[in-house]
């Protein structure tokens, strides 16, 4: 603290209670001891009480057979698997909806935020209306509405809508064809990832060249070409198979192909539509924070409107936007726990079921807290890193 400056200059003194450094140290030790004592007291008392009431404790349950089924997940899971695996399914389900939700909400929010500032009166008004409506209706209500719309309005699986060959819409969700297990589709996947990497490399090279020589390069088009072209190339190398794994109505439901459940769809829609309203406002205010003179200067230098937005306004707005945006990402992630209400098996839902079937409430709540803490801190750290990175570019 402030004392270090003073202390550094002072000649060596015998340690005394009058020395603010010593006192500071003592306070800290005392405070630390008090906190440690409280934790110890609460923990030991909790354990003693649980023991006295004969409530089960400990983490042994994690390896026991869970015994309940889960509707959907990114890894295989069955009732004979352990509680631990069930919880991992829950964490992955939470991450899935949060990551996709954050990406889509950012895209939608940015489009709406920019639209609000559009010179087109109708577009600007529609965008404002969107923001006012969706920001002000409680998210839970929106989720119920989306869920009801999907399960009430869509027909049963036997009367499923079939807008495109192989695609079926029903109250069981969206069923679509998936690539079967074939080398060609693996090559295509590799091509896709390669395409993304190359697109980033090209964009970086183009930017460097622009700064060095002032010459522009259509890196956007080039990148898009790479991301689309390379997978196609991979597919061609693999022999260009055209057979797909098609969903097919059998018995109660479709088998084969891939599917998006109504629960996931409703949750994702709700989170994206709701959060985009907030993001739009952040983007709008970020753009407004960049002074008008910048745009005028850019335009008089001969930049097009699009270039001005992309090269002058947005990069500067980004710095203003990044912190409030982080908050929205954290909110979206936390709000995803409303999933329980509509039956999407996220971590809260799975941990609650676990907590209930095992009777170990404290452990269950601790798991939920830990998972959300870990996700939140990761998002915050990533955004801080990103914030620092774009701040460095400043001249």
């Amino acid at each position: 603290m402030a004392s270090t400056v003073k202390g550094a200059k002072a000649p060596k003194q015998p340690l005394s209670l009058n020395d603010p450094r010593v006192r500071g140290l003592i306070y800290q030790v005392v405070a630390l001891a008090a906190v440690a004592f409280c934790i110890w007291y609460l923990a030991s008392n909790t354990i003693a009480n649980l023991e006295a009431r004969r409530i089960a404790t400990g983490w042994g349950f994690l390896n026991r057979e869970a015994g309940f089924a889960i509707g959907e997940g990114l890894i295989s899971y069955g009732p004979a698997d352990s509680y631990l695996r069930a919880l991992v399914v829950g964490v992955l389900n939470t991450l899935r909806v949060a990551v996709i939700g954050i990406i889509l909400a950012t895209l939608l929010g940015t489009i709406i935020g920019i639209s609000r500032l559009s010179q087109n009166w109708l577009l600007a008004k529609l965008a404002s209306l969107y923001v006012e409506v969706f920001r002000n209706i409680p998210l839970l209500l929106q989720l119920f509405v989306w869920y009801a719309v999907i399960s009430e309005l869509f027909p049963g699986p036997r009367q499923a809508l079939n807008p495109l060959p192989g695609i079926f819409l029903s109250n069981r969700g969206i069923k679509f064809p998936t690539p079967p297990d074939a080398a060609a589709f693996d090559y295509a996947g590799i091509g896709f990832i390669l395409g993304i990497i190359l697109a980033v490399v090209v964009a970086n090279w183009a930017r460097k060249r622009l700064y060095a020589t002032g010459q522009t390069f259509p890196s956007g088009w080039a990148g898009t070409g790479l991301i689309i072209g390379l997978p196609i190339l991979g597919w061609l190398i693999g022999g260009a198979p055209t057979h797909l794994d098609m969903p097919e109505m059998r018995g109660f439901n479709f088998v084969g192909g891939g599917s998006l459940s109504p629960e996931f769809a409703a949750l994702l829609l709700g989170l994206v539509v709701y959060t985009a309203g907030f993001i739009a406002e952040i983007v709008r205010s970020g753009i407004l924070a960049v002074s008008r003179g910048q745009t005028e200067a850019a335009l008089s230098l001969g930049l097009t409107k699009g270039q001005n937005l992309r090269l002058v306004v947005l990069p500067q707005a980004l710095r203003v936007i990044i912190l409030p945006m982080t908050n929205q990402y954290l909110n979206l992630t936390k709000n995803s726990s409303l999933a329980v209400a509509i039956g999407y098996p996220d971590i809260v839902s799975i941990a609650n079921t676990t907590l209930n079937q095992t009777g170990q409430a404290i452990e269950g709540v601790a798991i939920i807290m830990l998972v959300f803490f870990a996700i939140s801190i990761s998002i915050a750290m990533f955004m801080n890193w990103y914030n620092k990175r774009i701040a460095l570019v400043e001249r």
Binding site: N49, R53, R54, I55, F68, P79, V340, I342, Q357, V365
Partner: protein, 340 residues
């Protein structure tokens, strides 16, 4: 869901700070408070649901009333708390409620790991399946590949997984906590099947289905579900009172005492009847309540048979036959220990 996490957290905090409970704590606290807080479900007609006048009724509610009648001589001294399956145990552990009377199945895990005790059985049940008639399903064995709506935190979701596993069939669960929501999902067609205790199916079909005749309950019962009240560990006197309030209703039926002939019966020379009604002996005193405890129960809620018929039997919409819930003397399982 947030509420439940809060509740669970509250239970954790309560457990962290509280000194271990001592005998008589709940009994004395309830007596001093002048009313019982009873955890019931949030609306399964016949078990516990508010009627058109906002009064709670049902066979589970009657148990709460019976305890209040035994303790206070007044069956109305009950505060009801509607709980989902997931909320119920933490609510009892944390002391939010004094007794849980909410179609809860007794199992070994629950009996041993929750710090709670099962008091007795007020309804013998089993798990069943309900499907729309138009699916033309005749047996649970034909349900392979079906989508099944179920509430979490129940024995139901475990039995469901067991049954399909044992019969080598697949299914997709749709797991929703709130009763209204899970029922709405089923009736909207999101699921092919709704599963819970057969009594719950009968109740849902009779009171929530757009048209009850469009739905059938399949013949198979896939589990044993002995439903009954629970209390916290640590107060045996309270445990005893709840247990004997239930037994008094069953004993009354067995001995031909009901709410209509009650005052007549006071004049009975049968020593068993005299003991139950407090004409003779100190049964109430032994429980720590008035000797007229059973009289007060029968006066206000009736005997077990009356409560059954009024709430879930012939006098109700559900029309569930007594079967297992008949007295042991009539081929059922209801059997109370003697009041002596």
């Amino acid at each position: 869901m947030k509420a439940r996490i809060l509740l669970a957290a509250a239970a954790s905090v309560a457990v962290s700070f509280a000194a271990p409970a001592f005998a008589g704590a709940t009994f004395d606290a309830v007596k001093a408070r002048g009313s019982i807080t009873c955890g019931v479900n949030s609306g399964v007609a016949g078990f516990s649901a508010p009627d058109s006048k906002g009064e709670w009724t049902g066979i589970d509610v009657d148990l709460c009333k019976a305890v209040a009648a035994a303790l206070f001589g007044d069956a109305s001294k009950v505060k009801y708390v509607g709980l989902t399956a997931q909320q119920r145990f933490t609510a009892l552990q944390s002391g939010e409620i004094d007794v849980l009377s909410r179609n809860t199945t007794g199992t070994l895990t629950r009996d041993t790991s929750l710090g709670l005790n099962f008091v007795g059985v007020n309804f013998y049940d089993g798990q069943g399946f309900m499907v729309p008639k138009k699916l033309n399903v005749k047996s649970a064995k034909e349900l392979g590949g079906a989508t099944v709506c179920v509430q979490p935190g129940t024995t139901t979701e475990l039995n469901l997984a067991d049954y399909f596993r044992a019969n080598k069939m697949d299914f997709k669960p749709v797991v929703i906590e709130k009763l209204e929501e899970v029922i709405a999902a089923f009736f909207s067609g999101r699921c092919d099947v709704y599963t819970t205790d057969a009594s719950g199916l009968a109740s849902t079909r009779a009171t929530s289905a757009p048209n009850p005749d469009d739905y059938v309950i399949l013949p198979e019962l896939i589990s044993k579900e002995p439903l009954g009240p629970m209390v916290r560990h640590g107060d045996d006197q309270w445990f005893d009172l709840v247990k004997w309030s239930l037994y008094a209703m069953i004993e009354a039926e067995e001995n031909g005492i009901d709410s209509k002939n009650l005052d007549e019966m006071l004049k009975s020379t049968n020593p068993v009847v005299q003991r139950i009604l407090g004409v003779n002996g100190d049964m109430g005193k032994a429980l720590g309540v008035d000797n007229k405890w059973a009289y007060n129960i029968i006066k206000t809620v009736g005997n077990y048979g009356e409560s059954y018929e009024r709430n879930v039997g012939s006098g109700s919409k559900l029309k569930i036959p007594r079967n297992l819930n008949n007295l042991w003397t009539k081929g059922g399982l209801q059997y109370a220990w003697p009041v002596r």
